[in-house]
């Protein structure tokens, strides 16, 4: 009824290959964008912006990044948090060395540093995969975490060992640092997410994305069809780490406002992002959003939602339950719905398409 594709003919290859082939989808995405850009900053309280929207927007890029690597290319990585850290520290160093350059440029550029490191640690993926590769990426995680603590140059010899985000303005408006308005931060993060998601979804729908998926499904067959494994896998590592790096820079500069050396980008964050990818749906862009949203919203709902409806629960217990629920849900989804929340979304769309006739 609401979701009919009747009468929409695809007359060109271009319209057939479009990311949103249906008019309803295009209208829907415009409405979502309008809501995100206008309604949310106007209506949402600072609390919701601060505790849900900002971490969600920062983490969603990391989830997309890991999804590119694990979901699309089939290479498992446990070093996501390490690559995020590279982005954050690169951005910090760049903006303290060249303070006059626009901070938004540095956030983007720091992704390239992360991509470089990602390629180096991705080299073993040419010979190994599965758990072996997981161990190789664990090496990246622990090595990078160690570097963030032990190389004082990275945090400008700050005696507390932490990086503090300096005040930076864009066209006179404070963007980062303690005095920046939360709405401004939100809009900046949102723009990064929208643009980078658009880029990512174009990459995965194009030739490169197809070669990644070919490698994931069967690498030997992909090689026989003329896909160069070396370039393809390293490109996946580079793009994935780029997204993680930008995500890390946003995480520190927009959301946290400062990071202790090595504690923010620990192994637990890597796992959390891996879970977000699984829960959202391996190999799905929209799934990355669902996964990141779920991971960010669940602790807040448990911590603040349950007391609001009368179930007394302390923050400490809520945190433990969150860990438990995430672990259990991962197993549950792997058993029941291996394609994650994204698959549920597809089913819902399919239902809407045939409604009110159930066939």
């Amino acid at each position: 009824m609401f979701y009919r594709e009747a009468g929409q003919y695809k007359t060109t290859y271009q319209s057939d290959m479009a990311i949103f082939p249906l008019r309803q989808d295009r209208i829907g995405i415009l409405i979502i964008l309008a809501l995100a850009y206008v309604a949310v900053p106007l209506m949402a309280s600072d609390f919701i912006l601060k505790t849900i929207m900002l971490p969600f927007l920062a983490l969603v890029l990391a989830v997309i990044g890991l999804n590119i690597l694990t979901g699309y290319t089939g290479l498992i990585s446990l070093g996501t948090a390490g690559f995020m850290g590279v982005g954050a520290y690169a951005c910090y160093k760049l903006t303290t060395i060249f303070p006059e350059v626009n901070i938004l440029v540095w956030i983007l550029v720091s992704g390239f540093f992360s991509a470089g490191i990602g390629v180096v640690f991705g080299l073993p993926s040419l010979r190994i995969k599965g758990l072996y590769l997981a161990v190789a990426t664990l090496a990246a995680q622990f090595f990078l975490q160690w570097a963030f603590v032990r190389i004082p140059w990275l945090y400008n010899y700050n005696p507390s060992g932490a990086i503090e985000v300096p005040l930076r303005t864009v066209f006179g408006v404070p963007v980062t640092g303690p005095t920046a308005a939360i709405e401004v931060k939100y809009l900046i993060a949102l723009t990064f997410v929208v643009v980078l998601t658009w880029v990512a979804s174009n990459i995965v729908h194009g030739r490169i994305g197809r070669s990644w998926m070919a490698v994931r499904d069967m690498d030997i067959a992909a090689q026989l069809m003329g896909i160069k494994l070396l370039e393809t896998k390293l490109l996946a590592f580079a793009v994935s780490s780029f997204y993680c790096g930008v995500s890390g820079a946003l995480f520190v500069f927009i959301y946290l406002g400062g990071a202790e050396a090595g504690t923010e980008f620990g192994i637990r964050l890597s796992f959390i992002i891996l879970f977000a990818v699984i829960i959202g749906g391996l190999g799905s862009m929209i799934g990355s959003f669902f996964g990141a949203g779920f991971i960010v919203a669940l602790p807040t709902i448990l911590k603040f939602g349950l007391p609001a409806i009368g179930i007394a629960i302390t923050g400490a217990i809520a945190e433990k339950i969150v860990v438990m629920v995430i672990g259990a849900l991962t197993i549950y989804l792997l058993i029941v719905e291996p394609h994650g929340l994204a698959r549920l979304w597809q089913i819902a769309k399919q239902k809407l398409r045939v409604w009110p006739f159930p066939y």
Binding site: A134, V135, L138, W146, I321, M324, G327, T330
Partner: protein
């Protein structure tokens, strides 16, 4: 994996052996060059080459007592790593599952032991001591058994025949569930292991050695002995009992084992329970050396490099791999760590494992040829 294995005729000198010879030759040349350079004064004490390649070895020879102490500490750490790896190998051999949760099972088992002991003595008023500790031990074993059954029913059975990577992620999920569950029940604060109540020795002995003294904790000695006994018992169990034979049959081929009437589900419960027992013993010894808390999670991950060095399917491999990693990282930390600012222990194990991956991907004793591309 497959029922048939491909065999090829080996040349007189295998590829790895040839590579080894070349590497050895290069190393010998390098050492000779260093000796000549040091003797002729080309390299002085302040050069970085001297600090990296000469100084650590000089101090090893000069102070053998420190070297032996470091090796001993590495040996003890290695025994504990290999025990975690051992539980992993048991499960991998019998069900082909990469059990990421083994390290957390160690912490979980140790926490249940201490938690039950506290419950017995504080809440039920049982006199503290050996009896209460034994009861707690039985309780902890019961918990590990329930865990084994639950894992088999809830996780393994529905996921049978799924790709390896899905199974791995399921055990990662299990890891997280156990962390949250354990912290929820036993609290997040570190606990003290009931070492003396279990009858484990606690003192230490100083040995005179080569002009210095070596400090040996009795507990470490006991840990090494218990580990050796456990490995012997496991070896006997695998080799000579009916269940052990069934386990080996399942490891060889699931289908063939099923067709001769071995119940896979039963075998998996047994294997996970055995891994749980190994986890409990590991947890006791580990907890006795430091506090029992989920901070051990990071150290538990070190079992993965151990497995890569030793191979996924070999029990001796787990032991030797653990010792290599344990001794290697302690020596690296002690002699080369200061050059890099210390704390390199946190990643050295993984780098050692990476080196092994480059040259010998199946590990020292592993028999599964990993898929090359």
């Amino acid at each position: 994996m497959t029922d048939a294995t491909l065999t090829t005729r080996k040349p007189v000198l295998g590829e790895s052996q040839r590579n080894g010879l070349i590497a050895g030759g290069v190393l010998a040349l390098f050492i000779a060059a260093l000796v000549v350079a040091t003797q002729t004064g080309t390299i002085t004490r302040n050069d970085w080459t001297y600090k990296i390649f000469v100084d650590p070895f000089v101090s090893m020879v000069d102070m053998p007592d420190l070297l032996v102490q470091t090796v001993w500490e590495g040996f003890v750490a290695g025994v504990l790593y290999s025990l975690i790896a051992l539980g992993f190998v048991l499960i991998f051999k019998a069900s082909g599952v990469f059990n990421f949760a083994q390290g957390i099972m160690v912490v979980f088992a140790a926490l249940s032991l201490v938690g039950i002991y506290e419950f017995l003595t504080l809440t039920l008023g049982m006199p503290a001591g050996f009896v209460a500790a034994l009861v707690a031990m039985a309780g902890a074993l019961g918990i590990m058994f329930v865990l084994a059954v639950a894992v088999e029913r809830i996780v393994l059975r529905p996921l049978v025949n799924q790709p390896d990577i899905i199974m791995l992620m399921a055990t990662v999920g299990l890891t997280y569930f156990l962390i949250g569950f354990g912290e929820y029940i036993f609290g997040g604060s570190p606990k003290v292991m009931i070492t003396s109540q279990l009858g484990l020795p606690t003192g230490s002995t100083m040995l005179d050695f080569a002009g210095g003294r070596i400090n040996i904790q009795h507990l470490d000695l006991a840990a090494a002995i218990i580990a050796a006994v456990m490995i012997a018992v496991l070896g006997f169990f695998f080799q000579y009992t009916r269940i052990g034979r069934a386990l080996r049959a399942v490891a060889d081929s699931h289908k063939a084992a099923l067709s001769v009437g071995i119940s896979l589900n039963q075998i998996w419960v047994i294997v996970w329970f055995t891994a749980g027992i190994v986890a409990l013993l590991t947890g006791i010894m580990w907890g006795a050396r430091s506090d029992v808390s989920f901070a051990l999670e990071i150290i538990a991950l070190k079992a993965l490099p151990v497995l890569i060095v030793g191979g996924f399917t070999s029990i001796p491999g787990a032991i030797v791999g653990g010792l290599i990693i344990g001794v290697g990282e302690k020596i690296g930390e002690f002699y080369w760590g200061p050059l890099l600012g210390g704390g390199i222990e946190s990643w050295l194990a993984y780098i050692i494992a990476l080196m092994f991956l480059m040259f010998r991907p199946q590990g020292l004793f592993g028999d599964k040829i990993i898929e090359r591309i």
